[in-house]
């Protein structure tokens, strides 16, 4: 009982340490806010942290893995293993409510919910989809100016009400 309790406490502590690591491309958010921290478990005496890449080529994953391992080592988890988990793939639906609030506060419009029906993936062509709200003035009168932005996870938009450009985390 005592060891079980201790193990639970250790896992909770390890989770909190890993969860606090910021994403280098979206530094306002932690890996827990993003939903890429999948689980923290113990295998024997070794801590195992599972992280999921956001995109196949997510260039930040390696740095995040290194940072998680480093912070855990500083906290006394000497040989923690940080592993990649590919399935199920990451979705922007996994960004937490807290994460969405932090994105908006950083001037980045959070993603809408992912619409995915069964069958072949349909072409969207020029359909705008549900409105994206301007993180600066709150207007829903915005338009997309480019489908790809400064990082894999964002596109570029413009607010017709306040005239400001802004980034938006695109739905995947």
């Amino acid at each position: 009982m005592v060891t079980e309790l201790a193990a639970t406490e250790l896992l909770t502590r390890a989770w909190e340490i890993a969860a606090a690591v910021p994403d280098p491309e979206l530094p306002a958010l932690t890996v827990a806010d993003l939903g890429i921290l999948r689980e923290v478990t113990i295998d024997g005496d070794r801590l195992i942290v599972s992280l999921t890449p956001t995109y196949s080529a997510c260039p930040a994953l390696h740095d995040i893995q290194r940072e998680v391992a480093s912070r855990l080592a500083d906290a006394g988890f000497a040989n923690a293993k940080v592993r990649a988990v590919l399935s199920p793939p990451w979705s922007t639906d996994l960004i937490t409510a807290d994460g969405r609030r932090k994105l908006a506060e950083a001037g980045i419009a959070p993603p809408r919910s992912v619409q995915r029906a069964a069958g072949p993936v349909p072409l969207t062509l020029f359909a705008a989809g549900p409105p994206v709200t301007c993180p600066r003035c709150g207007s829903a009168d915005t338009e997309r100016t480019a489908a790809f932005g400064s990082t894999a996870c964002k596109d570029l938009r413009r607010c017709r009400a306040c005239g400001e450009p802004f980034e938006h985390v695109k739905e995947i």
Partner: protein, 294 residues
């Protein structure tokens, strides 16, 4: 060691840490169970991973050649992002190949140290683009075909292939939409843009029949539930292309397929002249300075 900003992280004085360029990356599959499922031939699985991985690697390289040449900054950003997505898919698939065939070869070994005849990409991926319309037509064909393929591959009996495919589907959906929108703008645009779009379709059409011809490896793996029979992708491909071409007021040209050599083409390692030049650019630095990382 800690960082608060992305800039700080990449400028840390530690030359073993790199972002998305150069060689010597850590295994992107670190910690993933890459054992070969029971009843699946490891050599066949590796060969299939090379086909799909080489398609992505070579197409990504062609996209990278557009950087600093695209007509607008937004398009350059788009092409860089699409190229990066495909490079990520290639890294996972080439690493999967090294695990499946038991050689343990790394993604770098496959990308930088194989000869032209060992590359298994379709020839569509390797040809040079005459202009921006040429790229758009090729990218639309490539992403429409690959999206249909990966969507089916999400049900593969190999859990690693299924996982890579599930991630790839999300990315390719954006690539296909991007190229479809541009083809519509070009085809239904000015007389000049239309002229270029028509020429682009004429150039890409002969490379299409090869996309739907299965090899013996694909036949065996499809029977085992691991691979997708490319012939099954034709109906969806035609439907999507038909929708885009309708909006673009363009017609699909009737053209015979580009001949191979004795019935062999890209999937058998028989490529066009463009491939040698592409590999020379891709591989020369790695071959001239073995073991170097950058």
């Amino acid at each position: 060691m800690g960082f608060d900003t992305a800039y700080e992280a990449i400028t840390e004085e530690n030359d073993t840490e790199r972002w998305a360029y150069g060689t010597g990356f850590t295994d992107p599959m670190a910690g993933v169970d890459t054992s070969v499922p029971a009843g699946v031939d490891g050599a066949d699985l590796a060969a299939y991973c090379l086909m799909l991985g080489d398609d992505a690697l070579v197409m990504s390289h062609r996209l990278q050649q557009w950087l600093a040449r695209a007509p607008e900054l937004e398009e350059e950003t788009a092409l860089a992002n699409i190229g990066l997505d495909l490079l990520g898919q290639a890294r996972l698939l080439l690493t999967r190949a090294g695990a499946a065939d038991g050689t343990g070869r790394s993604e770098d070994d496959y990308a930088f140290l194989r000869g032209e005849r060992e590359f298994r990409n379709v020839r569509l991926a390797e040809v040079a683009d005459a202009d921006f319309a040429g790229l758009i037509a090729r990218l639309l064909v490539f992403s429409t075909w690959r999206l249909a393929l990966l969507a089916r591959l999400t049900r593969s009996a190999d859990p690693v292939l299924a996982a890579v495919a599930a991630q790839g589907v999300k990315e390719l959906t954006y690539h296909r939409d991007y190229s479809a929108q541009w083809l519509i703008m070009l085809g239904d645009g000015t007389d000049y843009s239309r002229e270029r779009a028509v020429a682009a379709l004429a150039a890409v059409a002969p490379l299409v029949p090869e996309l739907f011809e299965p090899t013996a490896v694909e036949d065996r793996l499809a029977a085992a539930g691991v691979a997708v029979d490319p012939a099954q992708l034709q109906a969806e491909f035609a439907a999507v292309l038909g929708q885009v071409l309708g909006e673009a007021t363009l017609d699909w040209p009737t053209a015979p397929g580009l001949a191979g050599v004795s019935g062999q083409a890209g999937r058998h390692g028989v490529h066009t002249e463009a491939m040698g030049y592409l590999l020379a650019e891709l591989q020369s630095l790695a071959r001239a300075t073995p073991g170097a990382t950058w």
